[in-house]
Amino acid sequence: MNSALIEFRDVHKAFGANAVLKGVDLSIYAGEISTIIGKSGIGKSVLLKHIIGLLAPDSGQIFFDNVALDRMSGVQRKAMKITCSYMFQGTALFDSMTVYENIALPLREHRKYPAKEIRSRVREKMAQLDIAGIENSYPSQLSGGTKKRVAMARALITEPRVVLFDEPTTGLDPIRKAAAHQMIVDYQKQFGFTAIMVSHEIPDVFFISQRIAMLDEGRIIFQGACKEIQTSQHPAVREFLDSAARANGLCPESGKRNGGSDATR
């Protein structure tokens, strides 16, 4: 197996007395879609924020391309940040800027392209995400689902090597959710980026991810292929998957809908 692109080694993180990560060991491989699942409030977003450097571990190390984040020089860290992109759970769109300005911001600030090129890239990305025509709207004028797609456009506009998606499809209707998942898969195939996704969309994420990791009580209790997690007998994994299956109207274990039709594609 190839060496991991991103690796967590015994990472601990606490906020005051609240220990969120209690020794996380996790490997993310290049060119794959890896999804982190787990109960709400268990620390999945905290885990993701460690990768991009928004949070630093209390102890343990995180390696990016075999270089520890805390030992990176300023230049290395800058190079790493340029290759990564992050889509926030709450979208984190700039509410005083229009949709166009939001998506164009990373390109404008880094002055890599002339204004004409930036305009054509933003328009292309907006068309791909089905949000053309709202260039001059402000985020507060948009629905939750549209905001998500604008945030996704902003995350993908720089054509990053690693994209971190924090619950990218929460709040989307089933059609747009499937479209967003399909887009992630298509883009991942087209550009070959590494996607790390936090999601509750089970079983949907099993169809688009190459690798699943489950965070529970501050530790990664499972990491492996999607088929492996579905047959895992770990009690916490089982409980989580069965609950998700019940919530989706599927028969636990079999992954079939209660009516008997096959839910898996």
Partner: protein, 273 residues
């Protein structure tokens, strides 16, 4: 029966000393953070690529949009000075010195200080609130993930704009204030126009103007740094989170900036005299 109160700070001073020590360390840490914030913002004023467009937008917000309120306060401050000065000086038969009294009061002290206080109220509070909301809604985190330096993006243009705007607004305040003094002293109370402006011309020297200019520059840096700092570090507050935290940050920004302007005015005056 005599009872001893073990919790009295006089019998057991250790907790009180610990609290004082902790507060002192927190205060020094805060000063250090403010200093680093100011230096980082100042350095990024000159880092490539230049942020002229953002600085101009902030000049419009801090400077241009403050013109009306500065003009209004300048006029009424000068008019009050004219009235009070005239009735005080006339007792000593020195009403001819009214122009000098109004001009020197405004140029040396009241112009820079009142301009700074008005800009704190109008633009400083808005800076703290805007940056504070960006902090709590993860917009500042989003900047970091895009490799956009948040201090450079948010603070440096405001600092540059304040350095340009404060002296200009102060100059405007001074001129309108002198005209306000003329309106009450000469037009209302009958002092000769030539006497009023002759005294203004003969009493004001370059040192007074440059002192006021230096004060306005210092106030620009202090006010912008403190207001932006309070917004930027809203999430570190222990007395309020979310919208309440932003409200508290805005209040702190206005109160601290206003007090610091008055303290700095005293310190600068003592050096300039």
């Amino acid at each position: 029966m005599r009872s001893t109160n073990a919790s009295s700070p006089w019998l057991n001073p250790l907790p009180m000393i610990q609290t004082m020590g902790r507060k002192t360390i927190e205060f020094i840490e805060r000063l250090g953070r403010i200093g680093l914030f100011a230096v980082t913002g100042a350095i990024h004023l000159f880092s490539w690529p230049w942020q002229w467009e953002k600085i101009l937008a902030q000049v419009y917000f801090i400077g241009s949009k403050s013109i009306f309120i500065i003009g209004l306060t300048g006029a009424f401050t000068g008019m009050v000075l004219g009235l009070q000065g005239y009735y005080t000086l006339v007792k000593f038969g020195s009403e001819g010195l009214l122009g000098a009294a109004v001009a020197l009061s405004l140029i040396r002290e009241m112009g820079p200080v009142l301009t700074a206080l008005m800009v704190v109220a109008r633009a400083g509070s808005a800076m703290a609130a805007e940056i504070g909301i960006m902090r709590i809604s993860e917009q500042i985190d989003a900047l970091e993930t895009m490799d956009i330096h948040p201090v450079r993006f948010l603070f440096s243009p405001r600092l540059g704009a304040a350095i340009i705007s404060f002296p200009l607004l102060t100059a405007m305040f001074d001129v309108i204030g002198i005209l306000g003094g003329y309106a009450t002293g000469s037009l209302l109370l009958g002092l000769k126009t030539g006497t009023y402006f002759g005294r203004v011309e003969s009493s004001v020297v370059m040192h007074d103007v440059s002192g006021g200019f230096l004060k306005s520059l210092c106030f620009a840096v202090l006010v912008t740094t403190l207001c932006c700092y309070e917004g930027y570090y809203t999430h570190l507050r222990e007395d309020g989170f979310g919208a309440k935290g932003v409200g508290m940050a805005t209040t702190t920004a206005v109160v601290v900036s206003s007090v610091v302007v008055l303290i700095a005015d005293y310190v600068l005056t003592s050096f300039l005299l």
